[in-house]
Subunit: 221 residues, 2 copies
């Protein structure tokens, strides 16, 4: 297919496609006569993957490139690809030092869940940084607060892995792992916002948050 | 206190503090004689809040300003402040249209959880965008997959609200709500990465992910 068709199929403007090609995020097509280039289904799939990483996941071009390089490596194990996606997502977040106290508390939380983790898992720094932020505003989270987060994390991680198991080919598995790692954060973040509205309505019944979606619909003529 | 002391107490360099002051993210101190300015505890607290929003939360200056304006408004209700923090966090994410199919599936998911939500809750767009991304790579999430995410979101939203209830003053409550909304996403994201490592080790026992943190420590002399 021509680049115009690739644009239509993938939803990315031609100028964006040229940018992805130039940056090496998408593999070159077959050169035909003159300045014509032929693209196929593998290009459509790849462009969609790149868009998910950059737009929903908010990855930088450099971070997306690192993830894709790992994904493309022939000898990449499931665990390696996972780790690469995790590290890429953590770029730009949790810069600077975190306190030893917070790091130790996250490690204790992981141990309490029975999680086998390696010390270089970027999750330690990301979570510890949040505890430092809480501490800076004078909020000391209780064990039950952190336990609720940890058990929620355990639940969604199991759902993520179960979804991976069901994929047909190693390529599709690796792709879902990368996309799932990156956009799964957005999925839980989005649903958390919806759940906050319900929890606010329950706890502050007089507040203006209590204007239910369903009731509004029913009220329509 | 002088600006150097404010820097030490808040952990932000003096140049960063001047930037925050110029941008109106932090209120001015009291002008003393000459070009001396006096800062107090309220400044320390505010600088820490601003850093949490910008650095851990990854908000833009403009988004942080909008959140702080709502936080500072005298007549701001809990629900209003919550909504402002949610909208600010959603800036730069989930741009562009999402499909009606994905939006409807998220609405059905919220209904199944019994959540009362309003149609302008930014969570709908954020979550629907993820479903579109999954669809683009050929992954159609099962009801049990999405259900696991929704019940995890419900669990952490309840923990968030319980933590708010325990705060002493309305100011502290509002502050925690804002910080919690923004950095809570990072907390679940960080813990999810740790949980992924455990789930990977369980499901792919031969993979190199199975090098437990605790065992490594024990192995040390």
């Amino acid at each position: 297919m021509r680049i115009s068709e690739l644009s239509r199929r993938s939803g990315a403007p031609v100028s964006t496609l040229k940018y992805y090609l130039r940056e090496g995020l998408v593999h070159e097509g077959d050169r035909l006569s003159g300045n014509q280039t032929d693209y196929d289904e593998s290009h459509v799939q790849r462009v969609r993957l790149v868009r998910a990483l950059l737009e929903t996941g908010g990855l930088s071009i450099a971070a997306a490139k690192r993830v894709l390089t790992t994904l493309d490596a022939e000898d990449s194990s499931i665990a390696h690809t996972f780790a690469a996606a995790q590290h890429a997502m953590t770029d730009g977040r949790a810069h600077g030092d975190v306190s030893e106290t917070s790091r130790a508390r996250v490690a204790a939380l992981a141990d309490a869940q029975g999680w086998r983790t390696s010390p270089d898992n970027p999750g330690f720094g990301v979570a510890a940084r949040v505890l430092d932020d809480f501490s800076a505003i004078g909020f000391e989270p209780s064990d039950s607060y952190l336990g609720a987060y940890a058990s929620a994390a355990d639940q969604i991680a199991r759902a993520d892995l179960s979804a991976l198991i069901g994929r047909e080919s190693p390529e599709l598995t690796a792709e879902l792992m990368v996309v799932g790692t990156v956009v799964g954060d957005a999925l839980i973040a989005g649903l958390r916002r919806l759940a906050h509205q319900e929890a606010t309505a329950e706890l502050f019944p007089t507040s203006d948050a209590a204007s239910p979606h369903t009731t509004q619909r029913k009220d329509l003529p």
